[in-house]
């Protein structure tokens, strides 16, 4: 197989060496060939995609993503195209409106191919919580692709699409990017509009891209960023030219190494790969400093109170009244309970239960409010750390992709896997996962970079510099065991 980056596709189209429809056809062929094994897509909108692409064949190269095929995580609403959040309760939901990111990508003349699999309502770290199908890791189909945006990560890794969007609430872009050997970016909270993203935890959710290169990530981020009056939490912040900002290297930049990560059970191979990456950056001229995040160890506990609390409220709207699936019931109360009990999977119920409990009277102060206070502490930790450095480096995950089924029945173990990705969400910081090696089992390892609020430019520059200097190309996935 041969895979292409967004940049390569655009260059070819611009030179008229190829036509948009050819790229869409190629992508559809890849999906047809590999997706029966991988299971990345919940919906492939092939006919309409081809139609759109063929229309572009006759048009002049115009939009920023002219003719580039892409996929959206199936929790991003698309008008007239089924959007399920991988939940039974929305299994035939066709939104009457477009998410802002969907609108913006459409405006760049990209070609939407379909919707990708996820953990139901983005709740999970393995995509095993999808109500509809498993997604397999293209590097080892017996392993998970990570989650919750496992479908988008796998689709990009398997070469089905050059880019896809995901959403990241506690690591749901970076962790699957790391597991699948692709680049994943979670922008600063407020950088990308959440309007049309099916909410999991509103104060943490952020949409971002999966790509095959940091440069592509910059390119896609450019297309989806910016203030949206439909989202009060989207910031009227200037959007710099991310692509131009990639050049310039890391000379003189201070890279913060977080002390005391050993206590979180980091796999030796992961540690070694990340150490090597830091060395690469150092060789490229960066200065390495140590930083301390004293409240990092509380991040998972904090997150698993805040996110379920918000989720329990965000998911109250699924009641079988105005849209979605309704179960039978003699009374209204029975209809509600049947609808929700049949419509939600176990992990979603579990989180609704945790969140409802944490907010219920008598517990609010002890759990939810306390978690919000710790969140303040975690944010302050980063404020301190960023006085000493420009970018913080950590592994994206403590381990490489784990086998399917391994953690399904051990929710806490599954949650603890998110230790390094959660802090960026709690603080609202931008964070990037870049492949930094392959384990002895052939599984990708991710390097995570975090930057100051709104400083995606530096984040991408460091990522790009590393990618150029790392001295190896990620091996293509085997699409087998």
């Amino acid at each position: 197989m041969s895979v292409h980056t967004v940049k390569e596709i655009l260059a070819s189209l611009r030179r008229k060496e190829s036509k948009p429809s050819e790229w869409t056809e190629t992508a559809l062929r890849m999906i047809e060939q590999h997706d029966p094994t991988i299971g990345a897509f919940l919906t492939v909108d092939g006919e309409r995609a081809l139609e759109r692409a063929r229309r572009l064949d006759g048009e002049a190269f115009d939009g920023a993503l002219f003719g580039v095929p892409y996929a959206l995580k199936d929790n991003i609403c698309t008008r007239n195209l089924k959007t399920t959040a991988a939940s039974r309760i929305l299994e035939s939901y066709i939104p009457p409106y477009d998410a802002t990111v969907a609108q913006r990508l459409a405006a760049t003349q990209g070609v939407l191919l379909g919707k990708t699999n996820l953990d139901e309502f983005a709740m999970g770290s393995s995509t095993e919580n999808s109500a509809f199908q498993l997604t397999r890791n293209p590097y080892d189909v017996k392993r998970v692709p990570g989650g919750s945006s496992g479908g988008s990560a796998a689709a990009v890794a398997a070469g089905m699409v050059p880019f896809a969007l995901g959403s990241d609430t506690g690591g749901s872009i970076r962790q699957p990017a790391s597991f699948c050997g692709v680049v994943g970016l979670k922008p600063t909270y407020g950088r990308v509009s959440r309007y049309g993203l099916i909410a999991f935890a509103s104060s943490l959710d952020q949409i971002g891209p999966f790509t095959r290169s940091v440069e592509d990530a910059a390119f896609v981020l450019q297309a989806i960023s910016g203030h949206d009056e439909r989202d009060s939490t989207s910031a009227p912040q200037d959007v710099p030219d991310f692509v131009r900002g990639l050049e310039g290297g890391v000379k003189g930049l201070r890279i913060g190494l977080v002390t005391g990560l050993d206590e979180h059970g980091v796999d030796a191979e992961v540690q070694a790969a990340v150490g090597k990456a830091v060395q690469t950056l150092q060789d490229a001229g960066a200065e390495v400093v140590e930083v301390h995040l004293p409240h990092l160890r509380y991040a998972v506990a904090t997150y698993y109170l805040i996110a379920p609390a918000e989720a329990s409220s965000n998911l109250a709207r699924y009641d079988g009244v105005r849209y979605g699936r309704r179960a039978a019931g003699q009374s209204l109360a029975e209809m509600y309970e049947n609808t929700r009990s049949e419509g939600f999977g176990m992990e979603v119920k579990r989180r609704i239960m945790i969140g409802t409990y944490a907010l219920s009277s008598g517990y609010y102060d002890a759990y939810y409010r306390r978690a919000q206070q710790v969140r303040t502490r975690i944010r302050e930790d980063f404020e301190q750390a960023f006085k000493r450095c420009d970018v913080i480096v950590m592994p994206t995950t403590p381990t490489t992709a784990f086998p399917l089924g391994e953690k399904v029945d051990n929710p806490l173990q599954m949650y603890l896997n998110d230790i390094f990705t959660i802090p960026a969400n709690l603080a609202g910081l931008p964070a990037l996962s870049v492949p930094c090696g392959v384990s002895s089992e052939g599984l990708p390892i991710g390097l995570q970079l975090l930057a100051h609020w709104w400083d995606e430019a530096t984040l991408l520059r460091v990522g790009h510099t590393y990618e150029q200097a790392r001295g190896f190309a990620m091996p293509l996935p085997r699409m087998g065991a």
Partner: protein, 476 residues
């Protein structure tokens, strides 16, 4: 043993914005069901609220007019509960940082001023409407009202009688209308009221077990519902029975209250800060502007009418209850009418006519200057008071000026002595008996002579002038 009534009211007032609080759908009342809806107010997955600035402005105005302390940093919270007319499964409301707290309004009870405390004023979104389907097994939901901005005004338990409750409501309504915050049309649901009521032995400082009263859709029904509850609870207590804490519904047909099926579980609304909205900060400049722009409120206007215009308290109260009425009245006075005379006309003939016709004062067929013109005709002696009332009716029907109608009807009084003297002299000449009787001390005889003169002029003679002319001639 006597009992004291303790009442607290929760009043919901819909704000007069063009669009809903969190989306751009129209707030228009009475549109066909489900025609003012969008993905946001229907709570579609992925949609987000964006706060309508005007809703905050009006809520701030209301809280200020109700003498509240303003929370310059206020926020929104989610109140979580399930109901089919509540699309998101939570209502966006304000919990621990409402826009206003610790306010009050004044009412006048039996000639005395009384202050009713206001615990809080907060901003929130309205729910939709559900109605029973014809088959009896279904309910039908209309989401047009979902997301209309509301303020909830919670009173302290300072109200001591059903009448005070009505007066308090009237005061709230009056303030809201003065400030152009709400129409306060109870029949359209733009003002709604729930009441908490309990009794306690006179002299006691502890509260008795309370009932919550709902479904009172007019000011009169609020008073009646509460009166029934006072009676019912008094009876229970006198029979040594306990009042059950419950929610009761006012039944208009029977004019009683009936227990609503008690809920199986206690409420646990799980309030938490709304993460989809940012905090609201009302800076000093904003607050100062709202304070400065606040119109003269009913209580101030009423005091001014009493002090500057010398109106009796009763008149001032009636005239200032509605801003439009007070404005109308002031225009009449501004056009030159005497304050008390104008008050009599506005409270009497004008409001009487408008009420009978079901018209608002804005829709009055007689403009204030026209009423002032009518009053001037009486002052000049062109017509009598009695005639003036007939002229007013004709003005209402035709919209014409008083002067025109007086001419058309030939109603001008004759005050011209040159015209009246020959008639008076003829009457005296033709009634020597009456003249004799008068001179003999029978006062009544004078009336007969005046009456004859009036008859001779078909009632048009100015009685005062006639009186004077007769007396001049028969000695007095």
């Amino acid at each position: 043993m006597g009992y004291e009534t303790v009442i607290g009211l929760e009043v919901h007032v819909e704000l007069k914005t063009k669009t809903k609080i969190f989306c751009g759908c129209s707030t228009n009342f009475g549109d066909p069901p489900n025609t003012n809806v969008c993905p946001v107010c229907l709570g579609h997955p992925g949609t987000l609220p964006v706060l309508n600035r005007q809703a905050v402005e009006l809520a701030l105005k209301a809280a200020t007019a109700l003498n509240c302390q303003i929370n310059q940093d206020c926020k929104f919270d989610r109140k979580n509960y399930f109901y089919p007319d509540l699309p998101k499964g939570y209502q966006i409301s304000q919990y621990d940082q409402p826009i206003g707290e610790h306010g009050y309004v004044e009412i006048e009870v039996d000639g005395r001023r009384k202050r009713i405390g206001i615990t809080r004023v907060h901003l929130e979104e309205d729910a939709g409407k559900s109605m029973h389907g014809e088959d009896g097994r279904h309910s039908l939901i209309d989401y047009n009202r979902t997301g209309v901005p509301l303020i909830e005004i919670v009173s302290e338990p300072d109200i001591r009688s059903p009448e005070e409750a009505r007066l308090y409501l009237e005061a709230i309504k009056s303030i809201m209308q003065y400030c152009d915050i709400s129409d306060c049309r109870m029949e359209e649901g733009s003002l709604r009221c729930d009441a908490n009521i309990s009794l306690r032995p006179e002299g006691s400082t502890e509260f008795g077990e309370k009932t919550e009263l709902k479904n009172m859709n007019s000011f009169r029904n609020v008073q009646r519902g509460l009166e029934f509850e006072v009676q019912r609870q008094t009876q229970l207590l006198e029979q040594g029975q306990a009042v059950t804490q419950e929610t009761r519904r006012f039944d208009e047909a029977t004019q009683t209250t009936v227990s609503m099926r008690s809920k199986e579980e206690a409420h646990d609304y799980r309030y938490f800060p709304e993460p989809d909205l940012l905090f609201v900060h009302i800076d000093d400049a904003w607050l100062d502007r709202v304070r400065a722009e606040l119109p003269e409120l009913p209580a101030q206007r009423r005091a001014r009418f009493e002090q500057e215009l010398g109106l009796p308290a009763y008149d001032a109260g009636v005239l200032t209850a509605e801003r439009a009425v007070a404005d109308y009245y002031e225009s009449v006075v501004a056009a030159g009418s005497d304050a008390k005379t104008a008050s009599n006309w506005v409270m009497g003939d004008l409001l009487g006519y408008l009420n009978a016709q079901g018209l608002t004062v804005e829709a009055s067929p007689v403009r204030p200057e026209q009423l002032a013109g009518l009053i001037a005709q009486v002052d000049k002696g062109t017509i009598s008071i009695k005639q003036a009332r007939d002229v007013f009716k004709l003005m209402c029907e035709s919209g014409k000026d008083a002067e025109v109608i007086i001419k058309e009807q030939g109603m001008e009084q004759i005050s011209d002595e040159a015209v009246l003297v020959p008639i008076v002299e003829e009457v005296i000449a033709n009634n020597p008996k009456s003249v004799e009787d008068y001179r003999a001390g029978k006062q009544k005889a004078l009336g007969a002579l005046v009456g004859q003169t009036m008859k001779a002029t078909k009632g048009k003679a100015n009685p005062a002038v006639v009186n004077k002319l007769i007396l001049e001639r028969i000695g007095g």
